[in-house]
Amino acid sequence: MKAKHQRLTLAIIAVVAVIGAGFLALAGLRDNAALFRTPAEIAAEPIAAGQAIRLGGMVAGGSIESQPDGVTITFIVEDGDAQVPVRYSGITPDLFRENSGVVAEGAFDANGVFVAQTILAKHDENYMPPPMRDMETTSPGVGS
């Protein structure tokens, strides 16, 4: 093999590898990217059970209920227009409380209850996730 050919061959292999990785990445993204949705958006366009999403909104006042096992809670996430019931087992973050912003990661079960795997509460002003920051300025009628 001439020197020129080897460089060319290597370049072609590298390009093929990069394109292959790109396809793998895109296929993975199609299956696994989780959308961010508010209750109003879900009401307008329901999400299939089992599909991973991030649900963002306010924890409705008076909606947090502890279940008898002591580690599971149910609450309602609302954004002024619509409501979504949520269930979560685990230790809630320190700033998780009623009438405060929350982002829950998880999926709907067959009964339309959002089962959260992770809960991110509104931290102090410096560390607020952008989705919540937008929410507070764009959804009137919901104070923080």
Binding site: A3, Q6, L24, A25, A27, D31, S66, D69, S89, T92
Partner: protein, 641 residues
């Protein structure tokens, strides 16, 4: 006056940096020796001045000088001294000053210690280093001045984010920055070589120690960050595929590829264009990482301030440098002579496969990390890409990479024979097969990735030691030991990851005092809670009485802490380390019936993950020492020949 002195030092350093760039360019164009001889001293003084500026900032933080805006916004007089000290870089401005200081000091070190590189290439390298530095000086001085005064000074500072009040802050950011910025040195070498068209084995030998050094620090920084997140967040996870983590992983992947290709260039004078390309990519990734972490496009404890102007500034620098580097590469690489060619079945061939796989993984991580940002910028749609994506795409490729890693070091340079190779790898394959049988027969079903991980970990641990087989261990060079230990470390880390994800046990309960729970080999009795206080926090502390088998009980104390300034609560996990794993306990909320939420994990062999990381870095260190020593000897031989 301290702040003014620091600012003055910074301005002087920036001016010298501009001078370094101008002199460098002029020296290369004109070939005048009197000008090129000035470049080295300028680089050294520039490094010294930024070091002084950084020392001034630390001094201000130690004194808690509240007339300085940055100190007032991020510190508090009641903070323990370690966090006053490390708090100097626990904020946007301070961390950017650290970035610049590391860059300038690295340039000074190159100017002092680099003896082998051709003078012209060295001058071009220092000029490239200055060109990078200039942009960041501008960013510091015009958009992120750490020494700005506040008038009138407040009576008290606002304190440091409690999540950052941890010894990890003293270690993780500086090591990671040394890695990020060290890669820029490798990049400057590449630019220098492109300018003088001097890409050959001697150049690779000069560049290699800097690549190794940067890579060691990146490895340590990532491992330290992983362990810090593991114990501080209280989520029990060691890697979340968070964009900020990916920001450090991507330069590491590129640097790992570069480290291996530069060895091919140094040993066989092959892969010239590819090695230069990797240096450009590695630097681009460290720029992307800096942008992701420091611009505020991502939200995390790392994004100190969300300021669109700053984000745009860093984005501008990013585009300028990456675009400039790629343009120079495109213009010049055609004129660099082709290196030697090689046989596919050889050490070089295996290292090319290593490089392709690492590049593919890098591409996947890059796409997954930037995709949400791109989608939001274009359509406004918000989405997140997390572990399901990365585990299903990068995970299998990483396992293939580890499998190739078992064979590569057993291949000879130049040309080898498949049949001979199979003879050499039969023992590791046997061990991997044995691991497979043990897993299939003795263990309850586990996921496919952890299963493959455990098998490969056993195989690679054996294969990594094989290069020492039948060798005179005393005469084996130090850098060979380095490779063996680093590859063995990969096996150790992989075993830890696989064990943790396959065999972790979790108990989540609302516990009444006196109740006992079993998790892993431990029995944990909840004895109730007590209020406790620290220097700048109060806490509710759980008391857990923990026994293993018939051993005596020990007390574990997970806490829920409340910080006064800024007002924040954090959860402090209590962790018990045994030789074969960790017991990880978190205290949650109490309820009206007197119950407390407890989360208990038994994580078998989880410590192997960071132990493996440390071994990888140690291997890098041995390789570095071994290479530098051999170079010194070569120089001495030339001098006295």
């Amino acid at each position: 006056m301290i702040a003014e002195a620091g600012l003055a030092a910074l301005w002087f350093a920036a001016a010298l940096c501009g001078l370094q760039l101008m002199f460098g360019i002029f020296a290369i164009r004109s070939g005048r020796e009197d000008i090129s001889s000035a470049v080295r001293p300028i680089a050294i003084v520039q490094g010294l001045l930024t070091a002084i500026a950084f020392a001034m900032l630390i001094w201000l933080f130690l004194r808690t000088d509240l007339s300085v805006e940055l100190v007032a916004a991020n510190s508090h007089s009641a903070k323990p001294w370690l966090y006053k000290f490390a708090g100097a870089w626990g904020n946007h401005e301070g961390s950017m000053l650290l970035w610049v200081a590391v860059l300038a000091v690295a340039g000074a070190l190159v100017a002092i210690f680099e003896k082998r590189l051709r003078e012209q290439t060295l001058i071009a390298t220092l000029a490239a280093q200055a060109a990078i530095g200039l942009g960041f000086y501008a960013f510091l001085l015009f958009a992120s001045n750490p020494f700005a005064r506040l008038d009138p000074a407040p009576a008290q500072g606002q304190g440091l984010n409690p999540l950052l009040q941890d010894p990890g802050l003293a270690f993780h950011p500086p090591t990671l920055y040394l890695g990020y910025v060290g890669i820029s040195v490798a990049f400057s070498f590449a630019v220098g070589a492109l300018v003088t068209r001097d890409v050959d084995a001697a150049f690779a030998r000069a560049m290699r120690p800097w690549v190794l050094g940067a890579w060691i620090f990146l490895t340590l920084g990532i491992a330290a960050g992983s362990y810090w997140a593991y114990y501080e967040l209280g989520w029990g996870g060691w890697w979340f595929w968070d964009p900020v983590e990916n920001a450090s992983l991507m330069p590491w992947l590129a640097a790992t590829a570069l480290l291996h290709s530069v060895t091919v260039l140094a040993t066989r004078d092959s892969l010239r264009a590819w090695t230069i390309m990797l240096a450009v990519v590695a630097f681009s990734m460290s720029m992307v990482g800096t942008f992701l972490v420091r611009s505020g496009v991502l939200t995390s404890v790392h994004a100190f301030a969300v300021d669109p102007q700053r984000g745009a500034f860093i984005l501008g620098l990013l585009i300028l440098y990456i675009g400039g580097a790629l343009a120079l590469y495109g213009l010049r690489i055609g004129t660099v002579r082709e290196g030697k060619q090689f046989e596919p079945v050889s050490r070089e061939g295996a290292l090319v496969v290593n490089n392709l796989l690492l590049s593919a993984i890098l591409g996947i991580v890059l796409v997954g990390t930037l995709y949400p940002l791109g989608v939001e910028a274009v359509t406004g749609e918000q989405l997140s890409v997390g572990p399901p994506y990365f585990n299903s795409t990068a995970g299998p490729l990483a396992l293939v990479l580890v499998a190739v890693m078992a064979f590569g070091p057993l291949l000879r340079w130049r040309r080898d024979d498949w049949r001979a190779l199979i003879g050499r790898v039969s023992l590791p394959i046997l061990i991997a097969a044995l691991a497979l049988m043990v897993l299939v027969f003795l263990v309850s079903p586990i996921g496919i990735l952890p299963m493959l991980g455990l098998i490969l970990a056993a195989g690679i641990a054996a294969a990594s030691l094989a290069p020492l087989w039948k060798r005179n261990l005393r005469r084996t060079p130090l850098f060979t030991y380095g490779m063996v230990i680093a590859h063995f470390g990969v096996g150790v880390a992989l075993a830890g990851m696989a064990f943790e994800s396959a065999f972790t046990e979790e108990v989540l309960v609302a516990a009444r005092p006196g109740e006992t729970y079993q998790v892993g080999p431990y029995s944990v009795r909840f004895d109730g809670t007590e209020p406790v206080a620290g220097p700048n926090w109060t806490a509710i502390e759980g008391r857990l009485s923990v026994t293993r088998g018939s051993g005596s009980a020990i007390t574990m104390r997970p806490q829920a802490r409340m910080f006064a300034s800024p007002e924040t609560e954090t959860s402090e996990a209590a962790i018990r380390t045994a030789w074969n794993g960790q017991l990880y306990t978190v205290l949650g909320n109490g309820d009206s019936e007197g119950r407390w939420q407890l989360r208990l994990w038994w994580k078998p062999f989880v410590t192997f993950i960071w132990l493996g990381g440390a071994l990888i870095a140690l291997g890098g260190l041995l390789a570095l020492i071994g290479r530098v020593r051999r170079e010194r000897k070569a120089i001495a031989r030339e001098l006295y020949a």
